[in-house]
Amino acid sequence: MSTGNMNLTLKVWRQKNNKTKGALVDYKLSDISPDMSFLEMFDVLNEQLINKSEEPIVFDHDCREGICGSCSMFINGRPHGPKDLVTTCQLHMRSFKDGDTIVVEPWRAKAFPVIKDLTVDRTAFDRVIAAGGFISVNTGNAQDANALPIPKNQADAAFEAAACIGCGACVATCKNASAMLFVSAKISQLALLPQGQPERYRRVQSMVAQMDAEGFGNCTNTGACEAECPKGISLENIARMNRDFYAAKFVSEEDI
């Protein structure tokens, strides 16, 4: 059983809504157990705030097992905190030391405006997917699933790209707030599969156009996105997207 023994200072971004300015606010927390998750530590803080009749800190979270992609905290200068390959909800307080000061900010990007406190609007990602992140197959149109064998390594590569949880850490950490890792992961997943071929070159063009329209920055290949991605999505996907984009623009005769 856990015993709470950590004392922490938190500096948390508080912002009432997208019309007001925000600021970092200090909070002291004591008796935090190292077995707590980072979000459970926030639960404790919020409970204290409510008991003091203050407004609790609003943050996105849902599954708390690292798969839904809701949680989105920028912790001590890194998305999802100091550990690699985990989301904020899977980060545990044993990754911190007694007496630490922890700065927590929301994702920051023009395309991800702050809604309140640590909650941001990531619907730009949905619009990018709506622009082409799919295979156009209506329900009931499918042939037998085994009619189309797919080499295991190709299926595995598609799966690795598909592991993206859409949390936006790549955008958050990129110095340019670029969304290329996210967008390329979806493009890659479908480009690697035979089912994705008919729309392959339309898809890359429309998704990139939507990504640009959303106001994300341009990729400069710093590799920060790959390093911070909680699901380890690879930069190879961006190269593949680039290739497909050139093929679509310079080889294909189709206009979109």
């Binding site: 157990s33 998750s37 708390r64 997917i129 799919f134 859409g166």
Partner: protein
């Protein structure tokens, strides 16, 4: 007490669905364009239904409380999805899937629905693969399968430990495609707070824009709820923090019966609770039981480390009690067996509320196979373990990582500690064969309805049901209702029924804000969860349930007197959202206890201590309880029972045996 008509089509079991599909009235394309359907929820059931309805030509509005439809909790399902494809040539068939599901559900589900589910299961896999869902494959390029509890064939399709994620992203991409084409209007960060009924039919909803706090009125010729299960009534469960019963409960209060609320699935393999701070529980996929052996020490209160306990002092109690299925018995059986051992004092870990899930034997076995593949004869134990660990890593790597992350222990070296936790709720809104509730025009799909799993759900069946409902069932069956609605023009939302429903929703929000009590919403939620877990959890008895009902009523009274919701209702206010949900959970909790008390038998996920065999197995009472208990909400918080008799014409009802 009235009999419920489940509208099951006439004819032979295997022909019912085919005949239904070819005789159901159609809506012509030009009429579809002017018919609006509201879908609440964007998980497997909701997203697939919304996408398919839009593909068919209906005007669809889809709502979810999360920031994106892709975050629905279906995403967290790990293990797999069943389908009667018989790709492994191990004798699987539609009938076997049907039979296993009925048996697994302890003979408390509807034959016709389950058979339909088994029939469309194969279509789901085809559809998902066509969408680009990267299911696991073998080197030959064909799809791979694995086994799951309660079956003796390999029919489970999977994508590592992220099957739910991949299937949901498939449905999500289909939905986003329709959104992009303007055929679905998506409302994210919106929570449904009321069903609007006009002339007895569901005609729309009141939804709260969670960012602005504004209450919005939305019309629909029909309303579909795909809002998931209510496991969070226990506070601690494997459900997401936001999973709630509110939409279903509001529908219930508008006349939709709630069926079998007491059927709760307690999943046997979850990471044990580590302290009071715990906010949720994490599942370790059932697929681990394929390669993990469950045991406890033979000696009571054994404090030795797992590695120090020799083989002959270990009790592999599942293998001992159920030699035929061993570690692959259904979830309810495995859960109760773990509880039985822990209650008897054989539990492990600091809390003594855990059992071991040990991969050592199979790691070594895999290692031996790998060694012989690479030509190493008579490999030593160390080589075997090293090679075997690679195999285990390949199969379950992400689950092992998650376990290590949460517990701080290395599961490759020491056995996992696991304990049962609330995972799935088989109960839900009562629906007929068409998935329509007792409110005309109000449909319910996926975990939110009660339909297919009876008293216990087999592993890898929830994904199957959610997608079956959304892709292949509801879009057909809803035509039967909508074909009669083509002359109904869209009703303007200034209709008095909308105003009344909005006023009701607003009244609740205002009340919650204005109580200004002393205790947080979580405080009440935790207390409710404690009552439910202790008295309406893995084992229930008459005395406990009676106590629980009184305690929950008192808790409800206290909640409405003393809850503290900071902030206002015209902003993003997560405490207000939670308060509304917990208020509904409290009412539901009472109904669950009432239902559990009514059902004087043990079946599947409902285990009444008074009704067990001498060996401690569940004892059904088919004579008196082979029915669906559908509860009608009555003024105040009262409930009236209606029964739907379950007729088994194609399966011989028998005592479940996994021995």
């Amino acid at each position: 007490m009235s009999e419920l008509n489940s509208n099951i089509p006439e004819g032979e079991l295997t022909q019912k669905w085919t005949k239904f599909k070819s005789s159901v009235p159609l809506v012509n394309p030009s009429n579809k364009r002017s018919i609006e359907v509201i879908v609440v929820g964007s998980g497997l059931a909701g997203a697939s239904a919304a996408a398919t309805l839009a593909e068919m030509g209906y005007k669809v509005k889809c709502f979810c409380f999360q920031d994106s439809p892709r975050r629905a909790h279906s995403i967290a399902a790990q293990g797999g999805i069943n389908a009667a494809k018989n790709y492994q040539n191990d004798g699987d068939s539609t009938y076997r899937l049907f039979y296993d599901t009925i048996k697994g559900g302890d003979y408390r589900s509807r034959e016709a629905n389950v058979h339909r589910l088994a029939e469309v299961s194969a279509n789901i896999i085809d559809q998902c693969v066509a969408q680009g869902v990267p299911l696991a494959r073998e080197y030959g390029g064909l799809l791979d399968n694995r086994s799951f509890g309660g079956t003796q064939v390999q029919r489970t399709f999977y994508a590592a430990g992220q099957t739910g994620q991949q299937l949901l992203l498939g449905a999500y991409s289909a939905l986003e495609r329709q959104i992009g084409m303007g055929k679905v209007e998506m409302y994210t960060r919106h929570e449904m707070l009321e069903v609007v009924k006009i002339d007895g039919k569901a005609r729309g909803i009141i939804a709260r824009n969670l960012i602005t706090g504004e209450l919005e009125r939305h019309f629909g010729h029909a309303v579909v709820l795909g809002t998931g299960g209510y496991g969070n009534v226990f506070y601690l469960s494997t459900n997401a923090m936001g999973s709630n019963v509110t939409a279903a409960w509001k529908a219930h209060k508008q006349g939709a019966y709630f069926a079998n609320p007491c059927y709760t699935q307690i999943h046997p393999t979850c990471i044990p609770v580590s302290g009071d701070h715990q906010s949720k529980l994490t599942l370790m996929s059932e697929s681990l039981r394929n390669d993990g052996r469950i045991w406890v020490p033979k000696k009571k209160d054994d404090t030795r480390k797992a590695s120090e306990i020799p083989e002959d002092e270990r009790d592999y109690y599942l293998e001992r009690r159920y030699p035929a299925f061993g570690n692959l018995v259904p979830r309810d059986v495995a859960s109760r067996a773990a509880k039985e051992r822990c209650d008897a004092g054989y539990g492990v870990g600091a809390s003594k509320l855990a059992v071991y899930l040990d991969f050592k034997a199979n790691t070594e076995r895999y290692g031996r196979i790998e060694a012989s593949k690479s030509g190493i004869h008579n490999p030593d134990k160390e080589t075997c373990m090293r090679l075997g660990t690679e195999v285990i890593k390949e199969k379950y790597g992400n689950l092992f990582d998650m376990y290590a992350q949460i517990t701080g222990e290395n599961p490759y070296e020491t056995p996992m500690r696991i304990y049962p936790a609330v995972h799935y709720t088989m109960g839900g809104l009562w629906v007929d064969y068409n998935l329509m509730t007792t409110v005309p025009g109000l449909y319910c799909a996926g975990e939110a309805n009660f339909s297919d799993h009876g008293a216990n759900r087999l592993g890898a069946s929830a994904l199957m049901q959610g997608l079956a409902d959304g892709y292949f069932v509801l879009p057909y069956t809803i035509g039967q209702y909508l074909s009669k609605e083509i002359s109904v023009k869209a009703i303007p939302t200034d209709h008095p029924a909308f105003a009344e429903a909005e006023a009701k929703a607003k009244g609740i929000l205002d009340t919650l804000i204005n109580i200004r009590g002393t205790k947080s919403v979580d405080h009440f939620h935790k207390r409710l969860g404690h009552i439910m877990w202790e008295k309406c959890g893995m084992a229930r008895n008459e005395k406990g349930l009676n106590e629980a009902i009184l305690e929950i009523r008192a808790l409800r009274e206290e909640f409405w007197r003393d809850v503290r919701v900071p902030g206002t209702s015209d902003e993003l206010n997560t405490e207000l959202e939670k308060a509304g949900r917990v208020a509904d959970f409290i009412e539901l909790g009472e109904l669950m206890c009432i239902d559990a008390l009514n059902r004087n038998e043990s079946c599947g996920g409902h285990f009444r201590e008074e009704y067990q065999t001498e060996e401690g197995e569940a004892m059904r009472d088919d004579e008196n309880y082979a029915y669906v208990a559908a509860w009608e909400f009555k003024e105040g918080v009262n409930f009236e029972l209606h029964k739907e008799e379950l007729k088994f014409e194609n399966i011989k009802v028998a005592q479940r045996s996994y021995k």
